[in-house]
């Protein structure tokens, strides 16, 4: 259990000629919550997406629970995993997107159940049971049968969180989960995430909500221009920033 849950080693990511991530190293243990903050374009979403190989790193390696993620090591060289292998690994990481991306042709329950049913081969009955439990957890039981178009943004995002929870993942990734929401709906989603955090779930959270990060995270990473400029517990990074870039960023956000 002293193995770190997540290890990011020497992560570089280029999009063509554009260098977005320029050498990221990060470690996180089980049960911990890491928040990633930074100005737009600094690469925080890209970094998150590299963790579950939604973006393939240009350089560097990811380790989940001690195991290499997304690649196989053959002798001294690394080879990207096949679609099937990658899919099996991704099943261990739950991801929540800024745009929710619920599937419109399925109702809430099926959106959550279809993963366990098709990916983990659960029976329909078991998958439905799991789905209902997860939707209950995010306080969406009353909307089991509703289709996404009839749900508000906050409700859709909560269903999306339930969908990720149904994977019973080792790690949850949140990519700016409230940035696309109307202000009055942000609270309900943040509450759910906080409840999950208090349960002891491991999560990496990219967010603009600095106050929320202060409450929920035990480790904060400030990313600027593709490098980690400062990191540490919220009491240091957010309340006692050292680096001038971080200071001006926090001032801009109004924190």
């Amino acid at each position: 259990m002293s193995n770190p849950l997540l290890q990011v080693e020497g992560l570089h990511k280029n999009f063509g000629a554009l260098k977005v991530l320029k050498g990221i190293n990060m470690t996180m243990h089980r049960g911990h919550k890491t928040a990633i903050i930074g100005p737009s374009g600094c690469g925080k979403s890209t970094m998150l997406r590299c963790i579950n190989y939604m973006e393939v790193p240009t350089e560097g390696h990811i380790y989940l629970d001690g195991e290499l993620f997304g690649e196989r090591k053959i002798n001294d060289s690394y080879k990207i995993m096949s679609d099937k292998e990658l899919a099996a690994q991704r099943a261990h990481i739950g991801m929540v997107f800024q745009g929710f991306y619920l599937w419109p042709h399925l109702n809430a329950r099926d959106n959550v159940a279809i993963g366990p049913m098709r990916v983990k081969d659960l029976s329909r009955a078991n998958a439905t049971e799991l789905a209902e439990a997860m939707l209950d957890k995010v306080h969406m039981s009353h909307k089991f049968e509703e289709y996404p178009e009839r749900l508000s943004g906050g409700q859709q995002q909560r269903v999306a969180i339930a969908r990720a929870l149904a994977q019973q993942p080792k790690l949850m990734l949140f990519d700016e989960p409230t940035s696309a929401l109307d202000p009055e709906l942000i609270g309900e989603v943040l509450n759910v995430i906080q409840e999950l955090a208090e349960e002891g779930r491991s999560m990496v959270l990219v967010t603009h909500e600095i106050n929320f990060a202060r409450e929920v995270a035990d480790h904060v990473i400030f990313l600027h221009d593709g490098v980690i400029v400062e990191q540490g517990p919220p009491s240091e990074v957010l309340d006692n920033p050292q680096h001038e870039r971080l200071i001006s960023f926090l001032r801009q956000i109004g924190s």
Partner: protein, 232 residues
């Protein structure tokens, strides 16, 4: 005036025992042509659509070129090429086969575009969410993309069916034994072109019109149906 119409219709009554069975058989061929070429076009169209969206540049280029060419050349030109133009090379098709292949090749170009557009209409984010949940690309296609794309492509596909039905008439020009040819032959033999071509027209109309109505109805249902949530 009424007498003229009555005389006109009388001709049909008189000749029906002669024309009836022949027309009936010819209509059968027309329907067979339509169904066969449609099936071929869908299969080929699907392959082309997938090819156009594939990772391999050579395959992509070929499919793009095929679609452009198939949409830029008249069906008749393709039919002539297949029926007459390949003979010196040793490839001889009978009229029916040449017609099915020609119509199929031509329609596949259009259908490929319809399928591609339908598939790409599904927002990229939904694909990402599926991968994040642990689905393979194939599972994503089967459970997320296909069910939604299906509803989008149905009306244009039905439209293509109607077009193929009408285009079977062109096959008469390479002596395929379908409705148009039968009508022309009978018209020549009986010196009653007006009656026979009108009859052919009416039959085509009776075959195509229900499909048209169904298509329009389907389009309306699609509009009314569920809006897509795109996320951001």
């Amino acid at each position: 005036m009424i007498d003229n119409i009555r005389d006109f219709l009388q001709v049909y009554v008189e000749n029906w025992s002669n024309w009836g069975p022949q027309i009936y058989a010819a209509v059968g061929v027309t329907i067979q042509l339509t169904v066969a070429s449609f099936s071929m076009a869908i299969v080929l169209g699907l392959l082309l659509a997938l090819g156009k969206m594939s990772r391999f540049p050579l395959l992509r280029a070929f499919c793009v070129a095929y679609v452009e060419v198939a949409r830029g050349i008249p069906v008749l030109a393709i039919l002539f090429l297949l029926y007459f133009g390949l003979v010196p090379l040793g490839i001889v098709f009978d009229a029916f086969t040449a017609s099915v292949i020609g119509l199929g090749l031509s329609a596949a170009g259009y259908i490929a575009e319809v399928l591609r557009a339908g598939i790409q209409a599904i927002h990229k984010g939904q694909r990402e969410a599926a991968l994040a949940v642990g689905m393979t690309p194939m599972m994503t296609f089967r459970y997320i993309i296909l069910p939604q794309a299906f509803r989008i492509i149905l009306p244009p596909l039905l439209n293509m069916l109607i077009i193929l039905l009408k285009d079977t008439s062109i096959c008469s020009l390479i002596s395929t034994e379908e409705l148009m040819l039968r009508a022309k032959d009978l018209a020549m033999m009986s010196f009653l072109p007006m009656h026979l071509f009108l009859l052919a027209g009416v039959i085509y109309f009776l075959l195509a019109w229900p499909l048209s109505i169904a298509t329009r109805h389907l389009e309306k249902v699609m509009q009314r149906g569920r809006r897509q949530t795109f996320g951001i």
